[in-house]
């Protein structure tokens, strides 16, 4: 029943003649880096579309950044509107400087009923701050949603306890503005569909006085697919011994498969791999087509980050390692013997 309603709402908007029940109108915070919209934001957009109403995107950044991203954002499928605001203060977009802008956009008289973003580091920092200022709760890392326009309530599901339980949470009509962040692996990223939505500029709400100052950003450079959206991932754990062994073992296999490289917390803590490669409850949550776990025992916190992968392959010396309980294909063996052989045979 709900599904029918949302399909109907996707048709060209026809204004109702009665004054009750305003349809949902989502504001989606579109993140970008280097002139490219983050794939997580494209998944957030897909989730926003499921509310069954209007969807307005918001692009924030320096003038140059906004100019570069806007044409791409305008073509995104599912957007019914697009707002942009630029200021030198928004590069990079720190929560202290961007939250006043969001507050202004969302303040009294705004048409918005939902505020949506990816569950990314920067949006996780921003959205709860804004929600608190507007005195509304927020829902983190949702994996599904359903909106009932007649009662103006939205029902979400979200993982709790490191994904070992799924909570169903209702944000009812007493919450006028529903904030939520979206688990990107749970929604298929929207594509550009050619039609172009009109972009409207919003005055920046600049912050005066001492603000948090950005000192530097250091990004891990890699030619490999981005971990969060890769369709194949080769991941290593503590058994990889050291950083050199980690790279020497995993890279050939990742190359052969065209995969991204991930790591368990143990491997990251021991310094074998960069922090940004950590898969798990406190790192990245991934759901690739193929996840190859090498020398990873499969602690609860690691499984939380990868157990929605389509095919899980595990190689581990310990036949009792918990990873084998979720692996579709398990091989009890020494990974240092298996991986080179595997690379050889994949190449054939």
């Amino acid at each position: 029943m709900l599904r029918n309603r949302s399909l109907a709402a996707l048709k060209p908007v026809v204004f109702r003649t009665y004054a009750t029940a305003v349809g949902p109108h989502a504001l989606v915070f579109l993140e970008h880096r280097g002139g490219v919209i983050d794939s997580g934001s494209l998944s957030a957009l897909a989730a926003a579309e499921k509310l069954g109403g209007q969807v307005t995107g918001l692009v924030v950044g320096s003038a140059d950044e906004v100019t570069a991203v806007l044409p791409k954002a305008q073509k995104l499928k599912g957007l019914t509107g697009l707002l942009h605001a630029s200021s030198p203060q928004y590069a990079p977009a720190l929560p202290e400087t961007v939250s006043p802008l969001l507050e202004k956009i969302l303040s009294d008289g705004s048409p918005f009923t939902h505020v949506v973003s990816a569950h990314s580091a920067s949006a996780k920092a921003l959205l709860p701050r804004v929600a608190a200022k507007l005195d509304v709760p927020a829902v983190s890392d949702i994996t599904s949603l359903e909106h009932d326009a007649s009662s103006n309530s939205t029902t979400f599901t979200r993982p709790i306890y490191a994904g070992n339980a799924i909570a169903t949470v209702v944000a009812g009509s007493s919450i006028p503005l529903k904030f939520f962040t979206v688990r990107s692996t749970a929604f298929k990223a929207v594509a550009a569909d050619g039609s172009e939505v009109e972009a409207k500029s919003v005055e920046p709400a600049e912050v005066s006085g001492p603000v948090t100052e950005h000192v530097r950003t250091e990004l891990t450079k890699s030619d490999r697919p981005e971990l969060g959206s890769a369709s194949r991932i080769v991941s290593g754990g503590r058994a990889l011994k050291d950083a050199q062994t980690f790279n020497a073992t995993l890279e050939p296999l990742a190359d052969a498969l065209g995969a991204a490289i991930g790591a368990s917390r143990a491997a990251v803590d021991a310094g074998y791999a960069d922090n940004s490669l950590q898969v798990g409850q406190t790192g990245k949550v991934v759901a690739p087509e193929l996840y190859v776990a090498l020398g990873i025992s499969g602690a609860i916190q690691h499984l939380a980050g990868m157990k929605d992968s389509k095919l899980i392959v595990a190689v581990n010396k310990d036949p009792d390692a918990p990873i084998f309980q979720v692996a579709d294909v398990g091989l009890v063996a020494d990974l240092f013997e298996v991986v080179p052989e595997l690379v050889e045979k994949i190449k054939q």
């Binding site: 005195d135 709790i160 070992n164 919450i175 250091e218 065209g258 087509e289 157990k307 994949i346």
Partner: protein, 267 residues
């Protein structure tokens, strides 16, 4: 007492009692929650927050005037406060709620913390707290508190350097794809990443000493706040089970499985 007119730093560390991270949780048959009759301990990110506060004092000595820990939770949460005191905090506040009360949500907790901060005679210069609790995995409270206080925030910190003279802090943050460093004026809210430090174990003498440290008990009503959740949790269910356990004997079999699944067609 130091004669300097400059005010010394007061640190507040909010902590939460959660199910121990190593426990495999079980969903109750009534699908209203999870079985809570299991081992509990301090939320791991909060241990890191306490540790960081104690390390700051070890580094800045007298410049840190106080380290106060606070928890909002049922009577048993007092154990979590004792643990934090044994790690080196000076005093604690327990905002006690009944066992039967629903778990407060991040906005309620943030409002309670704001009320507590406003009650501190000496003020609060730095709040260090976990980036998320491992039970609700919301990761919102620090940011919400920063919003309510209109203070700067530094989330997912992996390094914290405080300069008491300038009342500024440099914080390195874990962001998607790498690191970011920001400089912010105190008062500041910092949320901890796993990478920030390695928490210490409390020694027996310190555990004994912690028993004498003061714990102030207040009620939500004393703070003038209502912790009733505004979001309604209607169901807690088991996640779909994976059919694992398919083991193979050799690399050849493994390769065959990958082929079968279509992963090697291109190469």
């Amino acid at each position: 007492m130091r004669p300097t007119p400059a005010r010394l730093l007061n640190i507040l560390v909010p902590v939460k009692r959660t199910i121990d991270y190593a426990v495999k949780i079980r969903v109750n048959p009534d699908q209203k929650g999870v079985d809570l009759n299991v081992k509990h301990s301090m939320n791991p990110f909060d241990e890191i927050a306490v540790e960081e506060a104690v390390r700051l004092r070890e580094k800045l000595k007298d410049e840190i005037k106080s380290i106060k820990v606070v928890t909002i939770g049922p009577p048993k949460s007092i154990e979590t406060l004792r643990t934090a005191l044994a790690m080196g905090a000076d005093s604690a506040i327990h905002v006690e709620i009944p066992d039967s009360a629903p778990a407060p949500e991040p906005l309620g907790v943030a409002k309670a913390l704001r009320a507590l901060i406003e009650k501190q005679k000496d003020g609060v210069d730095l709040v260090i707290m976990g980036k998320q609790a491992i039970d609700d995995d919301a990761g919102q409270t620090g940011q919400m508190l920063a919003g309510l206080m209109n203070w700067p925030q530094a989330t997912f910190a992996s390094k914290l350097v405080v300069d008491p003279a300038t009342k500024e802090a440099n914080v390195t943050q874990e962001i998607d794809g790498g690191l970011q460093e920001v400089k912010a004026k105190l008062p500041l809210i910092v949320t901890t990443d796993l990478r920030l430090n390695e928490p210490r174990y409390a020694s027996l003498p310190n555990i004994m000493k912690a028993k004498k440290k003061p714990i102030e008990k207040v009620s939500p009503a004393d703070l003038g706040i209502d912790l009733t959740p505004r979001l309604e949790t209607i169901k807690v269910a088991e996640p779909p089970k994976r059919q694992g356990g398919g083991k193979v004997e050799s690399v050849d079999e493994l390769v065959a499985k990958l082929k079968e699944a279509g992963f090697l067609s291109k190469s």
